[in-house]
Amino acid sequence: MEWPFLNRGINVWDPWREVRQLKEEMDRVLHRYEPERSVMAPEFPAVDIWSNDEQAIVMAEIPGMTPDKIDISVQDDQMTIRGSRGSHECVEGEVFHRRERGFGEFIRTIGLPFSVNAENVEADYKNGVLQVKLPRAEHDKPKQITVKTG
């Protein structure tokens, strides 16, 4: 077959152009649903974070623990929660019908909107919900700057 328009002018007709466009379209569609990074296990515990300019409050649902088993550490603008919950050991004559509750060790590091004053952090654990109040560090508070007139 004759290709009289190849190698002539800018609008060269490339026989593979449509195929290549189709491939690019498909790639684009498929990549939209592909995770950017590898799939990770869901983070435990789930947290809700509330904040204003002075303080941040982190709430986490961690049922079935005692306050001494939960380990919270704070550094600058990161808070790490770790702990472990044991599972019910079956004794003689016991059998599980259904086992859905998780157990074991968990650790999670959460980024906060500002650096925190570690001395004044308050945490309490009620009804299985951990609530941590983190006040903003002095050095991280915005300072007003007055503009001098010349």
Binding site: D48, W50, I57, P63, M65, V95, H97, N127
Partner: protein, 134 residues
Amino acid sequence: MAKKEETQVKKKEAESHNIERTSSRRTFIPQTDILENETGLVVIMDIPGVAEQDVDIRVNDNVLTVVAKVNDVKYEGYRQLYAEYNTGDYQRSFRLTDEFNTEGIVAKMEQGVLTLSLPKAEKKKPRKIEIKAG
């Protein structure tokens, strides 16, 4: 297509599952461990955020239903930056067999974990049958 009998049985279960609450609050199904021992059944449910007085346990027609209300957390003057779990009520039902003594259910609530002990009915405890020689 399922046989006619099968369809009827399924419909009965669906009816009890479709019982909705009057308010349209978000309701979660709590994770539950169920274990059986010699005295009866033990049901352990994770219901964080629920106070003892807000749990409703009832047995109706051999169906054990647990409904727990959670008070919405509100912080005045704060905005919510991150919400991974949403507060909501909990509801779950289990069908019990005849063997349980529904009068003697004991419930204990500790740090968001509800433990229910359902003792087996007296007559159903295994009776040892002696084999007489002869």
